[in-house]
C-alpha cells in the first residue's frame, strides 16, 4: 500500500523504532524564541548538557518585542529580562540568533520560510503551536512544549507516537474575493476545535494547488486551531519556485538533488488516510468568528447564532458563555458589528502578500472615525519589501499605524493590546477570552475583510465598499 506525505517524511526521520515505544525522530530544524526556551536552557545547564546541533537551531525575538521605538531598550523590565535571557543563552550555547534591530528579525514562522530554511520533507519543531505553518512546504512541522525544547536541544531528536492522517480535500476553486483565511476558518467551523485531534491534516485538491505559498502558510498555520498536531501540503512547482534563490536554499547539484527528492514526497495514489473531509470551494464566502474559540465562526453574510439552536448541551453552554463575553446578542447580522480596532499582522497573515491585499483595499480610502488600525509586518524583511513597494504610504495615508515587526496584538504579551471591552477585527489566529488583552473581544478575519472593516467601521468585505 502507498504512503501519505506525512508518513514518508516520518519514515525518513526514524532513528530508532521498537514495539510498544514511541519512535525516536530526528529533527532537521529547531526554531527557538524567548518565551518557551529559558527553562529549557536552564535544564541543560543544571544537567551539564550542551546543544547537540546549534547549526540546526535558530533563535529569534518575536513574542515580547515592541513594534514602536524598536531602536530603544525594551521598556517593560520583565519582557526585557526574557529577551536578554534568550540572547545570553544563545551566546553561551552557540545558537545563531536574530535580535531586535537585525534585518532578519521577525516572527519565527515568517523568518524561516523567507530565508529558505523551511524546505519540503524536513522535520521542524518550535516551542510554539503555530509551527504547523511550515507544513505548507511539505515539511512535518509541529509545536512542542518546553520539556521537548530541552530534549531537542540536547539530542536533536524527539520520542513521538505516530500521528493519524486526515485528508482535507478542497474541490473546485475559491470564488473571487474568498481567501485562504476564509477557507481555514470554514474548515475549523466544520470539524471543530477538537476535530483534528491526534491527526496530521493534509490539504489537497485543486483549490489548494492554485494557492500561493503565503496562502498555503495561512492555512497550515491554523491547523492547530482545529486541534491537529500539524497541517501539510505536498510540495509542487509553486513550492520550488518560492524556495529557489533564497539565502538557505540548496544551489547547483544540491538543488537538483533536493528537487528530485522533493518530487517523491507527494501522497501515493493508493495511500489511505485515517479520515477524510471534503469541502466544496465554490460554496465558500468571506468567513468571520463571533465567539471565543476559532471554531465559532459564520459567513460574514450570516448572523450571530442563537445558542438555543445548538443541539449539543456542551456547545450550547459554550456559546452562551461566548456571547456574554463578546457582548453580542443572538441574531445580530455580522455586518452590523462595529469594531474600534483593526489588527493586520501575525504569523497567520503578516506576510507581504497579506499586506498587499489589504493595501489594495485601502488605496485611496480612509479608515473610519474612531477606528485605529495597526499594520504589523511579520518580519523586518517583509517591512522593507512593503516599503520598497510604497505600501507603508498607502497604510499611513489611509490613517493606519505602520509598525515594526513582531507578534504584536496577536497575543497580549507586548505593549500592543486591546483595552477591556474593546472589539477588534484581527487577522491573527485566536479569539480566546483575553487573548489580545484582558477583556478584549476578537473577531478573526482575512486581511481583505480587516481592511474593508477599517474603512466602514463594521465587519465588512471589499465588496461592501464597492456598493457603499
Amino acid at each position: 500500500m502507498g504512503r501519505t506525505l506525512a508518513q514518508k517524511v516520518w519514515d525518513a526521520h526514524v532513528v530508532r523504532s521498537a514495539p510498544g515505544e514511541p519512535d525516536l525522530l530526528y529533527i532537521d530544524l529547531h526554531l527557538v524564541h524567548e518565551v518557551t526556551s529559558p527553562q529549557a536552557f536552564d535544564g541543560l545547564r543544571a544537567a551539564g548538557r550542551g546543544v547537540r546541533r546549534p547549526d540546526l537551531t535558530l533563535a529569534t525575538e518575536d513574542h515580547n518585542v515592541p513594534t514602536l521605538d524598536v531602536d530603544k531598550p525594551i521598556a517593560d523590565p520583565v519582557s526585557r529580562a526574557q529577551v536578554e535571557a534568550l540572547r545570553a543563552n544563545a551566546a553561551e550555547f552557540g545558537v545563531p540568533i536574530y535580535s531586535l534591530g537585525s534585518a532578519e528579525q521577525g516572527i519565527v514562522h515568517v523568518v524561516s520560510p523567507q530565508m529558505g530554511l523551511t524546505q519540503p520533507g524536513m522535520t521542524i519543531v518550535c516551542g510554539d503551536s503555530h509551527t504547523s505553518t511550515h507544513g505548507a512546504f511539505g515539511a512535518l512541522a509541529f509545536g512542542i512544549g518546553t520539556s521537548e525544547v530541552e530534549h531537542v536541544l540536547a539530542t536533536q531528536t524527539l520520542p513521538l507516537t505516530p500521528f493519524k492522517t486526515m485528508a482535507i480535500t478542497v474541490k473546485g476553486l475559491l470564488p473571487e474575493g474568498v481567501t485562504a483565511k476564509d477557507l481555514i476558518l470554514a474548515v475549523i467551523a466544520r470539524i471543530g476545535t477538537g476535530g483534528g485531534q491526534g491527526y496530521v491534516l493534509e490539504y489537497r485538491g485543486d483549490a489548494i494547488r492554485a494557492l500561493s505559498m503565503e496562502a498555503r502558510m495561512t492555512i497550515c498555520n491554523m491547523s492547530i486551531e482545529a486541534g491537529a498536531r500539524a497541517g501539510m501540503i505536498a510540495p509542487d512547482e509553486t513550492t520550488f519556485t518560492y524556495i529557489e534563490g533564497r539565502p538557505k536554499a540548496p544551489t547547483g547539484p544540491d538543488w537538483d538533488a533536493a528537487v528530485a527528492y522533493w518530487r517523491t514526497l507527494a501522497t501515493d495514489d493508493d495511500a489511505e488516510f485515517d479520515a477524510e473531509v471534503v469541502i466544496d470551494a465554490g460554496e465558500l464566502s468571506p468567513f468571520v468568528t463571533w465567539g471565543t474559540n476559532p471554531g465559532q465562526g459564520v459567513p460574514l453574510s450570516g448572523r450571530v447564532p442563537d445558542p438555543d439552536d445548538l443541539a449539543d448541551p456542551v456547545e450550547q453552554a459554550a456559546a452562551r458563555k461566548a456571547l456574554d463575553y463578546m457582548g453580542l446578542a443572538a441574531g445580530t447580522p455580522m455586518r452590523q458589528i462595529g469594531v474600534d480596532t483593526v489588527f493586520l499582522g501575525s504569523c497567520t497573515n503578516g506576510r507581504i502578500e497579506d499586506l498587499r491585499a489589504a493595501a489594495e483595499v485601502l488605496r485611496g480610502r480612509h479608515i473610519a472615525d474612531g477606528v485605529r488600525m495597526l499594520v504589523v509586518p511579520g518580519s523586518v524583511r517583509v517591512r522593507l519589501a512593503a516599503m520598497a513597494e510604497g505600501l507603508d504610504r498607502v497604510f499611513t495615508d489611509a490613517g493606519a499605524e505602520w509598525r515594526g515587526a513582531g507578534c504584536s496584538m496577536c497575543l497580549g504579551m507586548n505593549p500592543d493590546t486591546l483595552a477591556p471591552q474593546e472589539r477588534s477585527a484581527s487577522t491573527s489566529n485566536r479569539n480566546f477570552e483575553g487573548r489580545q488583552g484582558p477583556g478584549g473581544r476578537t473577531h478573526l478575519v482575512s486581511p481583505q475583510v480587516a481592511a474593508a472593516t477599517a474603512v466602514r467601521g463594521t465587519l465588512s468585505s471589499p465588496a461592501d465598499l464597492a456598493t457603499a
Partner: protein, 195 residues
C-alpha cells in the same frame, strides 16, 4: 521526576469545555524565566470572579481538576502544566485533551486521565454535592474511584510507564546516542543549516 502510582485527593469541578491554555495561564505571566512560582497565574482572569469554583474555600487543597471536553487547546505553553502543578494539582480528568497540552503534562508528571463524559458528569455531580468527596486515581490499574463508582481511564502505555517509573526522557534518549550518530552521518548534503 517523582514516580506517580496512586493518588487520593478532592476534586475541583470545572464545568467548561474548550478551556484553552490562554485561560489556564494568560500570556502576561509567560514573561517569567523560572520553572516554578506560577500558582498566582493559574486561571488568573477567571479567578477575578468571586464565584469561580477555584475561589470556593471548600476547594482549598483539592488536587484533582475535572474539566469539560477539549481541555488545554491553543498555545503550546508548558507554563499551563507548571501553573496547575504549582497550585497543587496532580491529576486532570476530562473526556478529551488537546495533544500538545497532554504531551506537556506527561513530560512534567501531571497525570491526564481520559474518561467518558458520563463519568465526568457523575464526578461533577458528586463533587458539587460534597466537596470533600475523595477521588482515588490508580495509575497502575488505570482507574478512578469515588463514592461507589470505579471507572477505567485511558492513557498511553509508554507515558504511563514513564510516570510510574518517574523517568527523564533525555536520559532515555541518550542511550541511543550511537543510533543518532549513525542517522546524522546519512543525512542528505542539501539539508540546510542555520550557521
Amino acid at each position: 521526576m517523582e514516580p506517580f502510582t496512586v493518588h487520593t485527593g478532592t476534586a475541583v469541578p470545572l464545568r467548561a469545555s474548550n478551556v484553552d491554555t490562554d485561560q489556564i495561564i494568560p500570556a502576561a505571566y509567560l514573561k517569567r524565566i523560572t520553572r516554578h512560582g506560577y500558582e498566582d497565574a493559574l486561571f488568573a482572569a477567571w479567578r477575578r470572579d468571586p464565584g469561580f469554583v477555584l475561589n470556593d474555600p471548600a476547594r482549598a487543597g483539592a488536587t484533582i481538576l475535572v474539566a469539560g471536553p477539549d481541555f488545554g487547546t491553543g498555545s503550546s505553553r508548558e507554563h499551563a502544566v507548571w501553573a496547575l502543578q504549582d497550585h497543587g494539582f496532580r491529576v486532570v480528568i476530562s473526556s478529551r485533551f488537546a495533544d500538545i497540552f497532554r504531551g506537556n503534562s506527561g513530560k512534567g508528571g501531571l497525570l491526564t486521565a481520559v474518561v467518558d463524559q458520563a463519568v465526568v458528569d457523575r464526578l461533577w455531580a458528586a463533587s458539587e454535592a460534597d466537596p470533600a468527596t475523595e477521588v482515588t486515581v490508580d495509575l497502575g490499574a488505570r482507574t478512578i474511584a469515588f463514592d461507589d463508582v470505579v471507572a477505567p481511564f485511558e492513557i498511553d502505555d509508554y507515558v504511563r510507564w514513564r510516570l510510574l517509573e518517574g523517568l527523564d526522557d533525555i536520559g532515555i534518549t541518550q542511550q541511543s546516542a550511537e543510533l543518532i550518530d549513525a542517522f546524522e552521518a546519512g543525512r542528505p548534503a542539501f539539508a540546510p543549516t542555520t550557521a
